[in-house]
């Protein structure tokens, strides 16, 4: 019962004892009530307001997509030489954000980081929605959306041809669609027990049917749990290399080319670090207000947030390392085009984008060296916004500066985004938040079963019984 509100500063480190992951004197039942309460309570007005805003942005996005399809991709600012403008920037941005969820549930699982249980569901949901937003852009950039299936390994009947497997763009299709599929089933698998909890609690007939179908008749049988846990471990083992591969392959889109500023071997790990960085940035952006609004402070403690901040610091520094290596090798390699590309990034016509990127991605997370920044929610919220901005600009800088200034000065050109570009960027947030708000309303936003499994076992009568204790020993 959450009546006793112990005040525990979970951010204090005691090497002898592990800090509890759930505070506030919760037991199993109260965790269920706390989490399910979010779904079962009356829909708050704020939710409707948020949904209205998101839906209007989504509507705008839909309108713009329609406009694009009926008019053609010329409505974007993409030009010659900047063939890749906002659409790929947005794509890479959203795919990057989509890395946090699987990373948390797979890699942190492998590293036995039990604190992940409080935030993994949330982050996985975010992953799925971010991948949906990302998938939108390759889908519409082809101009003729009705032949989108040419992206997949199917013969195109009109051309009597197959996709070309030596193209990194096709690898990308495989990577992103595999990632979307695996994230989705991983997320869903994780939700089955919690959906069963919702099923067993709800009085609403329709919801009960929906939750029954979704939870597939889960009973919590020990034999089922045994296979389920094995499946979860396998998912984690598969998703960990997958999550690395996705942004690696996105980086191949750029790095297999010969364009200065794109072709450099650090790209794969650099993109992965950047993706994790942006993903955790978005986790923080969403988690800080969400734990406030949904009263999840006992489950998502300050220590959880501090850990996220530390990961941001680590990955932000990795990104900084990659920037530094690129710059150093651009000089060291002695290739004049490469050298120019980097000088041009920092001091050329897009200098402002570069310096926004550096200050948001490398400098702002350095604030997390200070404990006060890691433990003050509003401060980390602000920094996380900077991280999101910085990571968007990173993709902008990579894509646009290299294309705008390549080998031949005669073929240089500038990129001017149009209002459709801006509208679609903003609209994609509408899509993201619409899906997200639906999820927080109807889905279990904390993995209850997992949180319960990392809570200390309550006192048991077995321990009082000398006979049983002896048997047990």
């Amino acid at each position: 019962m959450a009546t006793v509100n112990e005040v525990i500063d979970t951010t204090i480190d005691d090497p002898g004892n592990r800090t509890p992951l759930v505070i506030g004197g919760h037991d199993y039942g109260s965790i269920t009530r706390l989490v399910c309460g979010i779904n079962e309570s009356k829909t708050p007005i704020a939710w409707y307001i948020g949904m209205l805003m998101s839906l209007s942005l989504l509507g705008m996005l839909g309108g713009l997509v329609g406009y694009l399809i009926f008019t053609g991709v010329g409505v974007w600012g993409n030009n010659n030489p900047v063939y890749w403008g906002f659409p790929i920037v947005n794509f890479v941005f959203w795919v990057g954000i989509g890395h946090a969820g699987t990373l948390i549930s797979a890699i942190l699982f492998i590293f036995r980081q039990n604190w992940r249980t409080s935030i993994n569901r949330f982050a996985e949901a975010m992953t799925i929605f971010a991948v949906v937003c990302a998938g939108l852009f390759p889908g519409i950039h082809i101009g003729r959306v009705w032949v989108f299936y040419w992206l997949f390994p199917l013969p195109s009947l009109q051309l009597a041809m197959w996709p070309q497997f030596r193209s990194p763009l096709l690898w990308d299709v495989f990577a992103v669609s595999t990632y979307a599929t695996v994230s989705l089933i991983f997320w869903y698998t994780g939700m089955i027990p919690d959906l069963a909890t919702l099923r067993d609690r709800t009085d609403n007939k329709i919801l009960r049917i929906v939750y029954s179908v979704l939870s597939l008749g889960w009973t919590g049988s020990a034999r089922a749990w045994s296979r389920y846990e094995k499946a979860y471990t396998l998912f984690a083992a598969l998703a960990a290399p997958l999550v690395l591969s996705v942004h690696t392959i996105v980086s191949f889109d750029f790095a297999v080319s010969q364009l200065p500023g794109w072709h450099t071997t650090i790209f794969p790990p650099y993109f992965v670090a950047g993706a994790v960085f942006s993903g955790f940035g978005m986790v923080l952006t969403l988690m800080v207000p969400a734990r406030q609004w949904f009263g999840l402070k006992d489950v998502v403690t300050l220590r959880h947030l501090e850990n996220v901040c530390k990961i941001l610091l680590a990955t932000g520094s990795m990104v900084g390392y990659a920037y530094a290596m690129e710059f150093f090798i651009a000089w060291y390699g002695g290739n004049m085009y490469e050298g120019f590309a980097f000088i041009n990034r920092a001091f050329g016509p897009y200098w402002w984008a570069y310096w926004i990127m550096v200050s948001c991605n490398v400098i702002s997370p350095q604030l997390f060296w200070f404990k006060v920044c890691r433990t003050t929610p509003w401060l980390m919220f602000v920094i996380s916004i900077f991280v999101n901005i910085g990571m968007w600009f990173e993709r902008f800088v990579i894509t646009v500066t290299s294309l705008a200034r390549d080998f031949l000065p005669s073929s240089w050109g500038m990129f001017e985004p149009t209002w459709v570009d801006y509208g679609m960027l903003i609209g994609s947030f509408g899509l993201f938040f619409t899906l997200f708000l639906l999820f927080v309303r109807f889905g279990p936003i904390v993995a209850m079963a997992e949180v319960k499994s990392v809570m200390p076992h309550p006192h048991s009568p077995v321990h009082d019984d000398p006979q049983a204790a002896a048997d047990h020993a």
């Binding site: 197959w162 030596r166 690898w171 495989f174 595999t178 089922a224």
Partner: protein
Amino acid sequence: MSEEANNTEPKLIGLMAQFDDPDSLLAACEKVRKAGYTKTDAYTPFPLHGIDEALGIKPTILPWIVLTLGVMGGFAGLGLQYVTNADWYPFIISAKPVWSLPANIPVIFELVILHSAIAVFIGMLFLNKLPTFSNPLFRVPEFARATDDKFFLTIDVNDDKYKPNKTRELLDGLIGQTDVIEVFEDPSPAELPKIIKFVGIAATVVAVVPPILLWRAYYQTSTVPRINPIRDMDVQLRGDTQTISPVFADGRTMRPRIPGTVARGEWVDPIMLTGIVPEIGGEQNVIFLQEEDTPEEGADKPAEDEKPAEDKPAAEEAEGQQPMADDAPAEDKPAEEAPAAEEKPADGEAAAEPEEPEPNWVKIAPISVTKATLERGRQRYNIYCSVCHGLAGDGDGLVSQRALQLEQPTWIPPTNLHTDYLLTQPDGKLYNTITHGIRKMKGYGDQIPAEDRWAIVTYVRALQKTRTGTPEEIPAVEMKELEIKGQ
């Protein structure tokens, strides 16, 4: 609850003990297993560590299923890429071999992961017999908290060790147990309700109709113009022949060939084209091509070329462009070629500018002489040449006969192809004559493709052979055939 259930006399299928905490359940599982029960199960709201050992649950075979499917996924990826890109459509792209393994690894990797992950998901559900929507346990109201905060242990009545009272006693005696509940079979009929079956079948049928219609429309011919909602490039602006184009200053839609270029696929070996062996090499090829193109460009003014066309080729221009390289040959040549120039008048016609150096004519036609070539040459010769030169090459073609009959004063009789002058002439020169004409004879280069002109040259040689050849030169086999024919 149990009494209410008893009224309908359903079958008892098991006993269930309820616990409030996980450690009691673990101890209970241990105890039940030690008592020899095997058809047992525990229900917990979260995965409980140690319960596998406590209940004696064996490790699952799931990893093996996943490994198998994963490996299959890898081979599927490899096979797909090999078959489509290396076998069916073997194109060289980005200078990579058609089957380039490094470039195939990303897709192979993704397919391994995809197959494995789907195997994990389906395999886990399958092994757990999910989805199972109907479970007798769901009819026990207390069981709703199995997904919340209560822990349950069940023993099946079919267990070998099951004895109604003893088992009940065992469960009652478990420490930490808060309730023991009887679980009854689900009395509702096992069959699906008819309405669900009906809706299911109807939905399947309805779902199958559109694809079938599409498939039919795709593969059947029809007299009705097709519905074309997305026109792609089927209907689009284009320039038709002879229409006015606003794009070009001269308003012509059909564009003339750019001087000095050769259209793709029309390039022919310069020797083959001109019948002249280039002396300087390399760069001269280009000049030859330009040479060949000029008459095409100004095809309507060959009359200007009063002098024999053969004199004009490359050497002249090459001389202008590369005097250094041309110096030495230019000196030797006149001497060498002088006799040839002298011979010409013997043919009854003055060759223009005898000082002009003779090009280095190809001695023998640069094509393979086969029966088919000769046959082709004969056909072409009969069409184009025989009207003047006569079918046998005696210079007595129908046109010539008629002209002589009419006593046309300007008529110059066509050359007899059996004269010594022509017998000794190199093939290249003969070819050049066909191409560019000589004296009154017009050039046929525009009408007869190069290969056919060479075929004509070989045929002319064959005609000449009919006069100069000896019976010994005929192979024995053919001689025999001829003899048979002669009889």
